[in-house]
């Protein structure tokens, strides 16, 4: 049953028909294991405070043991009043949030209003449940709408939890410890930002997959403050010299020019109608 404000995903998109076959073929690959999708260790957290929602994330994207991106953006834009942090398979979180953002933009254009957080949650839940956990996206959705300040988490199988504070990703246990200790209902903005920052920081310290800088996103009725980075890593390296060489650094010993003979096989000219 398609809603008028939601684009039907084209059949050429995600196709998991081979999932059962792949599971059966598990043991036949070299090394005994099928190639696994890359997951980026992450720490993301969210807190509801007096005037809105604060979301936080680290900025490290890893490719096995190498840090692939030191300044990766894990807080995704959904709509002017809703942002989403993503943990799990990087490609899945990226594309799922983009799809959600497009759908909600269509809704906004159709109806002339900002979308509500429950709408985003329902669309995500629908989509992730339909794919039975094949899309590895653990998302924290936070936003402010006419009904109040909301924070939701959506799991890869399509389960939804509405909570006042939470953390996800490989560093979630460390971050949750800080949140459990420091959270109170109706925090002030500064305290809330400090709490989220401390939570992400503890995830960065205790988890190998999280690191580098901390991004914070504050959403209130007045607007959004996306602070990137909120806190830079104390282990930031500073390059001592520039690896740029001016032309002429390498001496040229000899030069030989060989013209390439090309035959024109076919030439077609079409007049452009610019009337």
């Amino acid at each position: 049953m398609a809603l008028s404000n939601v684009l039907e995903t084209p059949a050429a998109g995600f196709n998991f028909d081979n999932a059962a076959r792949n599971a059966a073929l598990e043991g036949l690959f070299k090394g005994g294991q099928a190639p696994k999708p890359l997951k980026t260790g992450t720490t993301i957290a969210g807190v509801v405070f007096k005037d809105g929602v604060v979301l936080g994330a680290d900025t490290r994207a890893t490719s096995s043991e190498v840090v692939a991106d030191k300044m990766c953006a894990k807080i995704h834009y959904i709509s002017p009043n809703i942002y989403c942090c993503g943990a799990g398979t990087a490609a899945d979180t990226e594309k799922t949030t983009e799809l959600l953002s497009s759908n909600l933009t269509i809704f906004s254009l159709n109806s002339g209003r900002n979308p509500r957080v429950v709408m985003a949650v329902n669309i995500l839940q629908d989509m992730l449940y339909r794919y039975h956990g094949q899309i590895g996206a653990n998302l924290i959705l936070g936003g402010v709408d006419c009904t109040g300040n909301h924070l939701y988490t959506v799991g890869p199988y399509g389960s939804v939890n509405k909570v006042p504070y939470l953390a996800m990703g490989s560093g979630d246990l460390a971050a949750l410890g800080i949140l459990e200790d420091g959270f109170k209902p109706d925090l002030e903005l500064d305290k809330a930002k400090e709490l989220v920052c401390a939570a992400i920081h503890s995830g960065i310290m205790s988890d190998l997959g999280s690191g580098n800088n901390i991004d914070i996103c504050v959403i209130t009725r007045q607007g959004v403050d996306y602070i990137r980075p909120y806190q830079e890593s104390e282990y930031k390296d500073s390059r001592k010299i520039k690896y740029k060489y001016r032309p002429g650094t390498t001496p040229v010993l000899t030069e030989k020019v060989v013209p390439l003979k090309l035959e024109v096989v076919q030439e077609a000219v079409q007049q452009m109608d610019t009337a």
């Binding site: 399509g158 389960s159 990703g169």
Partner: protein, 233 residues
């Protein structure tokens, strides 16, 4: 499409990962390993549940609300896979709401239970959902229907469900009597749930209670430190 796919049985749904960086529970399905209970009394029903949702060994949500409203006087208690039960509850809420508007009168609890059964039975191979449907209607008063995994439907005066229910069958059998009052039912439910939460690792948190009658729905929460205490030594 691969013909091989239809020959192989549908294997587990886990998004498996043996990466050192990602802990085990990030890839386990979210389950409401739980304890739920529903009791009929003359004039309504009392329902109760614990509040723990787990993914493997990690508690994903320690304040879950497993008592989900389906209609004004009909609730369901969810156990099993969180995603599956939320999806089924949403579907039944829509179907029942539509049905109620067509009839122009409040729906029957038996109807809601049958709608749950229809979904649970049809998709029994893919789903993992044990549900208690409870509510009040004008025709038969307070009713409790049990729809366990597999899609059976049976009406019972008192019913428990979830992983923690196994620990309290003895308590139920010895302490339930027909003809209890609403307050006695509330006490019984709170006591039973506390005992189950004490013994079952997948149940815990707070106890959520609700009583449904003609007058309406009354909800309450019993926090962890206010639960009845039972010590074995």
């Amino acid at each position: 499409m691969a013909a091989a796919a239809t020959m192989m049985p549908y294997f587990g749904q886990k998004v498996s990962s043996n990466s050192d960086l990602a802990p085990d529970w990030t890839s386990q399905e979210v389950s409401t390993g739980t304890t739920i209970m529903a009791v009929e009394y003359d004039g309504g029903v009392v329902i109760g549940a614990d509040s723990r949702t787990t993914t493997g060994a990690y508690i994903a949500n320690r304040v879950t609300d497993k008592l989900t409203p389906i209609h004004d006087r009909i609730f369901c208690c969810r156990s099993g896979s969180a995603a599956d039960t939320q999806a089924i509850a949403d579907v039944v809420t829509y179907q029942l709401g539509f049905h109620s508007i067509e009839l122009d009168e409040p729906p029957l609890v038996e109807t809601a239970a049958n709608l749950f059964k229809a979904s649970c039975y049809r998709y029994r191979e893919e789903l993992s959902a044990g549900i208690l449907v409870a509510g009040w209607d004008r025709r038969k008063g307070g009713q409790v229907y049990c729809v366990p995994i597999g899609g059976m439907l049976v009406r019972q005066p008192v019913s428990v469900g979830g992983s923690g229910s196994t620990y309290i069958y003895g308590f139920m059998d010895s302490n339930y009597k027909p003809g209890l009052s609403k307050d006695q039912c509330l006490e019984l439910t709170a006591a039973a749930l506390s005992l189950a939460m004490e013994r079952d690792g997948s149940s815990g948190g707070v106890v959520r209670l609700a009583s449904i009658s003609e007058e309406g729905v009354e909800r309450r929460v019993i926090l962890g430190n206010q639960l009845p205490k039972y010590s074995t030594h």
